[in-house]
């Protein structure tokens, strides 16, 4: 095998009580957050987004340099999750290192002939996991990318004409290197659209870096592993709670539509925000409201998440390169309208 498969350990656990309310959902957020923050220093913003993406049932694309902690982050996320269905042959965390010669079957799995039983049996690929780290996703061929992306969009994969369901908690953290572009296959915008967030990670600040150096030994020894974890079921339940119990006011929905409209009419943007991005955004906003212990979505959520949701979906006209400033301009008027709407009778 060319790919480098890392398999996380299976841990069995007693089933936790089901999550039915916002407090339960928030405890999930808290447990995830504290464990991740213990494992990765100086990345609180990314951790926040990761938790939001997980609860919003979206996927995440990290764009950063090698050695910036993305594998550690994804692995720590896998470690947070207790697989409470150990017999379904799905591990909590897998990593796929994408290379140009990778084949779709290396990702999805394949049927193998067993000479003992004279039968073909299905050998699941690394995609059958709760958390999948798709490392350097732009280095592989479009064929493999599309196999991966089908799985991401549909939560299923088709092998030998047989469609297999992936786990309900299927969460992909993909990475790509922003600089080393030689021999890469950049993701087309249609495929970028599958990712809920695209996050550009920056180098962590000095204090955080010092802290990383000071504590890396303790972390290698397993610091933070004593912190409470969450089960797969809890996450799935929390998703349901977020979807049903966090209120999205009509004004907020109007604001989203306004933003999309602005991005479409702005002459500096060739392709504005898609309707799908708005659909995906709602759960993300709700999840963010949950992380802020709020039972409604507000303007700050919209403002906070917009760069990560729209940033990779907008195609800028030639001559414009700063998507952030363009987006900020597109946001200001709808946000102002939203803010004023709260003072209306």
């Amino acid at each position: 095998m060319d790919s480098d498969f890392i398999q996380s350990e299976h841990v069995t656990h007693t089933p936790a009580p089901a999550i039915t309310d916002l407090n339960g959902a928030y405890s999930v957020v808290q447990r995830l957050r504290s464990r991740l923050q213990a494992a990765v220093r100086g990345r609180d913003e990314v951790i926040e987004l990761l938790v939001i993406a997980l609860l919003a049932d979206g996927h995440m694309l990290l764009e950063d340099y090698p050695g910036s902690g993305k594998t550690t982050l994804a692995k720590a996320l896998g470690d947070c999750i207790i697989d409470d269905k150990p017999d379904d042959d799905i591990s909590t965390f897998r990593r796929i290192q994408f290379t140009p010669d990778l084949l779709p079957s290396d990702v999805t799995g394949t049927t193998i002939f067993d000479p003992n039983t004279n039968k073909f049996f299905f050998r699941a690929g690394p995609i059958f996991a709760h958390v999948v780290l798709a490392d350097e996703i732009n280095r592989t061929s479009p064929k493999v990318q599309s196999a991966m992306l089908e799985a991401m969009a549909e939560k299923q994969t088709t092998i030998d004409n047989r469609t297999r369901k992936l786990d309900e908690l299927f969460f992909v953290v993909a990475t790509q290197n922003p600089l080393d572009l030689a021999g890469t296959f950049p993701l087309p915008s249609a495929q970028l659209d599958r990712f809920l967030f695209k996050v550009k990670m920056h180098h962590i600040n000095r204090e955080a870096e010092l802290e990383v150096l000071a504590s890396f030994k303790a972390r290698r020894a397993g610091a933070g592993s004593e912190l409470p974890r969450v089960t797969r079921t809890e996450i799935v339940d929390a998703r349901a709670v977020v979807e049903n119990q966090i209120h999205v006011a009509p004004e907020v929905r109007e604001c989203l539509v306004d933003i999309a409209g602005r991005t479409r009419s702005d002459p500096r943007i060739l392709q504005g925000a898609s309707t799908r991005s708005l659909v995906l955004m709602i759960p993300a906003l709700q999840a963010r409201a949950l992380t802020r212990i709020r039972d409604y979505v507000n303007a700050e959520d919209v403002e906070g998440l917009s760069p990560f949701i729209f940033g990779h979906r907008l195609e800028l006209a030639p001559g414009t390169d700063n998507v952030e400033s363009v987006l900020r301009e597109c946001l200001s008027e709808p946000l102002e309208r939203l803010a004023r709407s709260t003072m209306r009778r």
Partner: protein
């Protein structure tokens, strides 16, 4: 900055130094900017710059103080080097220091702006008080281009205001631009309103400066009656009390040589300033052999004679204060000018023995070869003053009260006058408030000792003051060299006086007066212009002339007999013109010159010539209505309501003022409604129902914050604003949450018990917010916010 340095050093520096000042300013901006960005502490930077300036200044002083440099490059170059160093270093250090401060502290930019403003306004400083003919460089240029300088100044002011407004608008963020423009329009409207109601600033009606053409050093002005561009000018009103500067009837114009032609040159001196081209001729001066001044303008005024003592001859001719005549009346014909010049109100009942009031403005006593002129000595004619009274002004030579009555009065002038005047023999002048600035130019009070003794009782007295020095007596008795005067005088005395009176000076004078009354013929047409000695031409010629000729003749004859005498000029008004009232209206035609002689013990006595024959048409009488109305105006009494208003001021509608009141009223209403809305929004919390509480309560919180200068920016979510404000007012975060939970949260979950609908919670929160703002913000800021009627407009 460079321009500011330029305009500030314009008046004191020469070419090289100007360039150095500009260069220094440019360098100073650059260095100041660099210093500001570097880590140099402001105090150190400023100290260093000051030191540099001092060192360079010393070097400049050395370069002219020692001979080394002067020897090396020459004295002129050494001086230039010094001034270059001085101006360069001064402007460099000043500008660099200001720039440094401005970079470090944005508020210090005000200093820089102040410097630029001072530089700009210094250029137009002479325009203050609305003097539209200044600054000269601008008005000169404008006149040459055929532009009204007032319009040029208005354009400059407008451009400055527009530029400033644009700069301010550019400074503010996009959301404010439109509202700033609206505000600007409102400001402009209110300014218009204020001007319409209060009135535009009027220039001080000083005689020397201002709008009138009487100004000294005024630019040449094209006048409609001026034939050529250069020739006959309306000369400035000079010291001579002013001849009528009328180019039209001037016989031989010689405007080219007049003082007025020089544009900004100062007005002429006493004899030159009359500049009445009509009466004068270039040939005069040379022939008479007197000084250029005296000879140049032999007849200072076209002052017309008036039949003294109520004889038939009446006033003809032109107004004395010529500058005024142009202002008030375009009628400059040499005939009777009914233009009102001044109003005199007598406080005391006084009836002159001569039957006419004489208002003395100036005195001509110095013999100038052919005529009498204003004296150049300081020890004579001390009974007239040159300045308008700003405080009590006593005349130097007080007249003795013998045979005189003390008369007080008020004079309000309607035209420009060069010197004050008062009823003959004034003893003091007092300032007075202008009773009606729209009608009168100025006013003053006088106290005079007017002659009350009968003429006949003046005989038997000597002539002249025994206190006089021999020079003064000689001065007042100096006759022309022409022997004919003495012969004529002697003949008159011998023929007309009994022997016992032949040596009595007053009797001699009176005899000569009566002779002249009988012999002379009044006519303003006969000017005796173009001859070397107009008086002898008149007296020994056709004997037809007017008051100036009469007065000169009388004085010359008297002086030939050794009687001290002189000519006074001013106004003359028959007692009958009073119509029994106390108001005397002085008109242009009342301008007059008369002879006076000094009677020992009684002072200067007016002995006017009243010609029995008059060739001029009779003048029109005094306009009684006008006299009464102007008198009432000068007394500050309301006009009689039953009488029609003065003809020259028809009732007119002040649309501008109505508009002004309208605008101000509207602004007042707008202001009141703004305050009303402001306080209604405050009080609303107490009156509201729980359902609207989240909105009303939050609005109040926003209002309170806006008063303290904290406002949400455009596009800023409320939560972010709350986070921003939390440093000052942490409670606001909670209030924002309560508000948003009510407005954006699930309505189903919004029960009566929730915090967002609890009046107690809101009131406590708002109280806490106020408390926090009290400690967290500056007091003046809050006070300003409380006063600001539109603070709630910022609460979004």
């Amino acid at each position: 900055m460079a321009l500011a340095a330029f305009s500030l050093s314009w008046g004191v520096a020469l070419g090289e130094a100007l360039a150095a000042a500009m260069l220094g300013a440019i360098l100073g901006v650059a260095v100041g900017e660099l210093l500001g960005r570097s880590r140099v502490r402001p105090a150190v930077g400023l100290g260093g710059l000051t030191l540099l300036a001092i060192v360079l200044w010393r070097v400049a002083a050395l370069s002219v103080g020692t001979e080394a440099l002067a020897a090396a490059v020459g004295p002129a170059n050494a001086l230039v080097t010094a001034s270059v160093l001085r101006f360069g270093s001064l402007s460099f250090s000043t500008v660099a220091g200001l720039r440094l401060l401005a970079v470090r502290r944005p508020s210090a930019m005000a200093l820089e702006l102040g410097l630029v403003t001072v530089a700009f306004t210094s250029v137009f400083a002479s325009h203050r008080e609305g003097v539209i003919a200044r600054p000269l460089w601008l008005s000169d240029w404008a006149w040459q281009q055929g532009i009204d300088p007032a319009q040029a100044l208005l354009a400059i002011g407008g451009a400055a205001v527009t530029l400033l407004a644009l700069l301010l608008v550019a400074e503010t963020r996009s959301g404010r631009a439109l509202s700033s423009l609206v505000l600007l329009v409102l400001l402009a409207l209110s300014a218009v309103g204020v001007i319409q109601v209060v009135g535009a600033p009027m220039p001080q009606s000083m005689s020397e400066l201002g709008l009138t053409d009487a100004g000294m050093g005024q630019a040449p002005r094209p006048t409609p009656d001026a034939g050529g561009g250069h020739g006959p000018n309306r000369g400035p009103d000079g010291g001579g009390g002013g001849g009528g500067p009328d180019a039209g009837d001037a016989g031989g114009n010689r405007g080219g040589g007049d003082a007025g032609d020089g544009g900004s040159s100062a007005g002429g001196d006493a004899s030159d300033g009359g500049s009445s081209g009509g009466a004068s001729d270039g040939g005069d001066g040379g022939a008479s052999g007197a000084g250029a001044d005296a000879g140049d303008v032999p007849m200072p005024n076209l002052i017309d004679i008036d039949g003294g003592g109520g004889s038939g001859a009446h006033d003809g001719g032109r107004p004395t204060p010529p500058s005024a005549s142009e202002r008030l009346d375009d009628d400059q014909s040499p005939s009777n000018s009914p233009t009102p010049m001044a109003v005199v109100i007598l406080d005391d009942d006084y009836s002159p023995p001569s039957g006419a009031y004489y208002f003395r403005q100036e005195v001509w006593s110095q013999f100038g070869g052919a005529r009498l002129v204003r004296t150049t000595r300081t020890d004579v004619d001390g009974d007239v003053v040159d300045d308008f009274p700003a405080m009590e002004l006593r005349v130097r030579d007080q007249v003795t009260p013998n045979g005189r009555a003390r008369v007080h009065g008020l004079i309000a002038v309607l035209a420009q006058h060069t010197y004050p005047f008062a009823l003959e023999s004034p003893v003091r002048y007092l300032p007075a408030a202008n009773p009606n600035p729209q009608r009168f130019l100025r006013a003053w009070r006088f106290e005079s000792l007017a002659q009350s003794i009968e003429y006949r009782r003046l005989t038997g007295q000597g002539a002249g003051d025994p206190r006089w020095t021999p020079e003064v007596r000689t001065y007042y008795t100096q006759p022309p060299i022409d022997p004919r005067y003495h012969e004529l005088a002697q003949r008159i005395v011998n023929q007309r006086l009994p022997p016992r009176l032949r040596s009595d000076p007053f009797a001699q004078a009176l005899a000569i007066k009566l002779y002249l009354d009988h012999e002379l013929i009044y006519s303003t047409r006969s000017r005796h212009a173009g001859v070397p000695d107009p008086t002898s031409d008149f007296l020994f010629g056709n004997r037809t002339g007017y008051c100036v000729h009469f007065a000169h003749s009388a004085v010359f004859l008297w002086r030939s007999l050794g009687i001290p005498s002189r000519i006074s000029a001013g106004y003359h008004s028959d007692e009958s013109n009073r119509r029994g009232g106390s108001t005397i209206l002085l008109r242009g035609g009342d301008a007059h010159a008369w002879p006076e002689l000094y009677v020992t013990g009684y002072g200067w006595i007016v002995l006017d010539i009243a010609a029995e024959r008059n060739l001029d048409p009779p003048g029109q009488g005094t306009d009684e209505d006008l006299q009464r109305i102007l008198g009432e105006m000068a007394r500050q009494q309301p006009a009689d309501p039953e009488q029609p208003r003065p003809r020259d001021r028809p009732p007119q509608h002040h649309y501008g003022r109505d508009f002004g009141y309208g605008v101000l009223g509207l602004l007042g209403v707008a202001l009141a409604s703004l305050y009303l809305v402001k306080f209604w929004r405050r009080a609303r919390v107490v009156l509201s129902t729980a359902r609207v509480l989240p909105r009303v309560g939050y609005r109040k919180a926003l209002d309170v914050l806006a008063e303290a200068g904290l406002a949400r920016e455009y596009g800023e979510p409320r939560e972010r604003f709350a986070t921003r404000v939390a440093a000052v007012a942490p409670t606001f975060t909670k209030l924002t949450e309560m508000h948003l939970a009510a407005r954006l949260g699930d309505p189903a979950r919004l029960g009566p018990g929730t915090a967002a609908l609890s009046r107690k919670q809101w009131q406590e929160g708002l109280r806490a917010l106020r408390r926090e703002l009290r400690t967290g913000t500056k007091r003046w800021r809050r006070a300003l916010g409380l006063l600001n009627p539109a603070s709630w407009l910022d609460a979004r």
